[in-house]
């Protein structure tokens, strides 16, 4: 595809004129060209991907009929649940509503479970009995746990050894267990192999748990049993752990027998690949994952359990007219993060509108920034910008990267402030949340 990368004065004026016009009408939508597109877009999932998709479809093309299906009236984010677990943020600060989408943008919000998808008839069934037809379907279903993949870890086991990898009751359970643990106890976190939701998540979690234990139960230990030999931002995490928590956190790599093969939730024990038994006082198992259930029902998953998509638009490779975004997709090298789901939603909204207008999709650009807090005042980050090259997604050469290793506390504190500011910014962008700062 050829593209004019040289913005001429003429084009920039035309474009700025449009921007001005948009601002005057209160809708800074720039995609006013051509006929107003029409059609019914159904979006499943009200998280970072789905809520953003619904919002930007309406902002870019107010003439579209957009329905969002999300079971929860109050959405709880996975990002920052680690801060709640560490006792540095309230659970309520992670709650968001769909008021902006419904009241200000005119999205039809239905609080129900999507139960089944008829891809040929282009209909979706809801648990409540309702059935909707669509012109385009966007699935942003997040992840489901692969129950049974890890021996001994089923839904009953998760009530004793929580995963807390989908926020809600599981997060509260794990927090309560940490509060009830005695000083001198051992917190064991079992980290999965790739791919999984939020690659730095397990490592931020032990950081935040360490922050809590250091202040309240300083004799306690943390054991991180890993199915991998390396992890996201590893050098930065280990540097931070050593500085702030001494030898409280022990990371066991796969090659050092970190791979957990069996969980005994009744006795809070795990057994590793080479037969070592570890006993926990609080056991947090982050289990193997797959695309959210409705992706299976829509026949868009492959043998890996994840969803292959066309890189330019995120339309399913298997079912035409069905688009999938967020953690459920195979979008490597983009990580499974809330930030990525947000930018995927925008690219896909733009692509669907272009398609409805008979226009080609743009050369997309996605971005990611993941902050991880090691203490409330010491954070590290990784950023990446992604593009399509040779019909595959890649990181834009020369861009992206992690925080430098050799900086002091001022830089790390700035990133910690930026982390909180990022959360406020993205919550504003996804759900219109205005109360955070």
């Amino acid at each position: 595809m050829t593209m004019n990368r040289n913005l001429t004065r003429r084009e920039s004026l035309k474009w700025m004129g449009l921007a001005g016009l948009g601002a005057m009408t209160g809708f800074p939508s720039l995609s006013l060209g051509g006929d107003a597109p029409s059609g019914h877009i159904v979006v499943v999932g009200g998280g970072f991907g789905g809520a953003t998709a619904a919002k930007y479809l309406k902002r870019l093309a107010p003439s579209l009929d957009v329905t969002l299906i999300e079971p929860e009236r109050r959405y709880i984010t996975c990002p920052f649940t680690n801060l709640y677990l560490g006792g540095v943020r309230s659970f309520e600060s992670l709650w968001h509503t769909f008021d902006e989408l419904r009241d200000e943008l005119g999205v039809t919000v239905i609080h129900d479970w999507a139960k089944d998808v008829d891809v040929e008839g282009r209909r979706i069934q809801l648990s409540g009995g309702e059935s909707l037809s669509w012109d385009r379907l966007i699935l942003s279903p997040g992840i489901d746990i692969r129950w049974g993949d890890l021996e001994g870890y089923d839904e009953a086991a998760a009530e004793l050894a929580p995963h807390a990898w989908k926020p809600g009751a599981q997060s509260r359970l794990l927090r309560r267990q940490l509060e009830e643990m005695e000083d001198g106890g051992t917190f064991v976190l079992v980290a999965p192999d790739n791919p999984f939701r939020c690659p730095p998540g397990p490592y931020e979690r032990v950081s935040m748990v360490a922050n809590y234990l250091k202040n309240h139960k300083p004799k306690s230990k943390i054991l991180l049993l890993d199915a991998k030999d390396g992890f996201s931002k590893q050098g930065l995490f280990m540097q931070g752990w050593e500085r702030h928590y001494g030898d409280m956190i022990e990371w066991v790599s796969r090659s050092n027998d970190g791979l957990v093969m069996r969980v005994d939730a009744d006795h809070l024990e795990v057994e590793t690949e080479f037969g070592t038994i570890h006993k926990a006082d609080v056991l947090n198992v982050v289990p193997p994952q797959k695309a959210g259930f409705i992706a299976d029902r829509a026949s868009v998953t492959d043998a890996s359990g994840w969803v292959p998509v066309k890189p330019r638009t995120f339309e399913s490779q298997l079912v035409a007219g069905v688009y999938v975004i967020g953690d459920a997709t195979q979008a490597a090298p983009m990580p499974k993060s809330g930030f990525v789901a947000n930018t995927q939603a925008k690219v896909t909204a733009s692509a669907i509108i272009a398609d409805l207008r008979g226009l080609p999709p743009v050369d997309p650009s996605w971005a990611n920034t993941c902050y991880s807090l090691i203490t409330p005042d010491w954070a590290i980050s990784i950023a990446g910008v992604y593009e399509v090259y040779d019909e595959l997604i890649r990181e834009v050469p020369g861009s992206g990267g992690i925080s430098p290793m050799d900086v002091g506390s001022v830089f790390r504190k700035q990133e910690a402030e930026n982390a909180r500011a990022w959360y406020a910014g993205i919550a504003h962008d996804v759900w219109g949340t205005r109360s955070l700062s």
Partner: protein, 264 residues
């Protein structure tokens, strides 16, 4: 024309009859690779005769898990005696060669390899009759934005081995053996902190034997992942002891032993 060639041609003809690719006369290009031809010597392998399980996309090329499984009765008359694994676009394509005996019970193993870039991974397996089987899989390697990593090797653990052998099994039911040895598998391609090339230093050989009787021997090349990992099967007839020996290219060796009981 010998019997083997005739058989493989018949087999090839049969495969073509069942499965006609878009360009039926074209052989896959990986078959022509020098490293593959050096092993096949012109033989036409049955494809796909091997189950090659490797992720289509991997976010960490420094350690990619791969499993090979070949249907075979593994009897003295008919067994898989060799398995080769290649990554065609690595600086050197050879990964590992396994030589097996019927004592393995099952022609199946899992290991971890390094992939320098997106490329085709090829497995070749030879029947004791001499016939070759093959499979190839394309693997895309991306270094995920969230997955930058460093080495995890510590020198004090060099040559420290871990094994897991079931203490008990049933006659005729193959048992799973897991092995791992701490080793950096220095490729000889990497620059050290002083800018000089770190010399090649690898585990080059692994042998497993039950009471002196060979189960398998593996030749490892430099593109095997650090801390070489091998999962394989054994199917002993009677109780005994499994001895596993790793040998470094310096000649240094480490041995682990585990005894097991076989119930009839």
């Amino acid at each position: 024309m010998n019997l083997f060639l005739k058989r493989s041609m018949m087999a090839a003809a049969l495969i073509c009859a069942i499965w006609t690719p878009p360009n039926a006369s074209a052989q896959p290009s990986w078959l022509q690779a020098e490293a593959i031809q050096a092993v096949l010597q012109g033989a036409a392998p049955i494809q796909p005769g091997v189950r090659l399980d490797i992720p289509a996309v991997t976010q960490d090329g420094s350690s990619v898990q791969v499993s090979i499984d070949v249907d075979s009765p593994m009897t003295p008359d008919d067994f898989i005696d060799r398995i080769h694994l290649f990554a065609l676009d690595n600086p050197s394509p050879e990964l590992i060669e396994l030589s097996l005996t019927p004592l393995a019970g099952k022609a199946s193993f899992t290991t971890r390899i390094r992939l320098d870039q997106s490329q085709t991974v090829v497995a070749l397996a030879r029947r004791s009759s001499g016939e070759w089987l093959a499979a190839a899989r394309d693997v895309r390697v991306t270094v995920s934005g969230c997955l930058s990593r460093e080495g995890t090797y510590r020198s004090e653990q060099l040559m420290q081995a871990r094994v897991r052998v079931p203490g008990q099994g049933r006659q005729g039911a193959p048992m799973e053996v897991r092995t791992l040895i701490q080793h950096p598998m220095e490729t000889g391609l990497r620059e050290g902190p002083d800018g000089a090339i770190v010399p090649e230093r690898i585990i080059e050989r692994f042998e497993a034997a039950i009471d002196g009787e060979k189960v398998l021997t593996a030749h490892l090349h430099r593109a095997m992942a650090a801390n070489p990992y091998l999962l394989f099967m054994i199917a002993p007839e009677r109780s005994g002891e499994l001895a596993m020996t790793w040998t470094e290219d310096t000649g240094v060796a480490a041995t682990e032993r585990a005894s097991f009981e076989i119930l009839r």
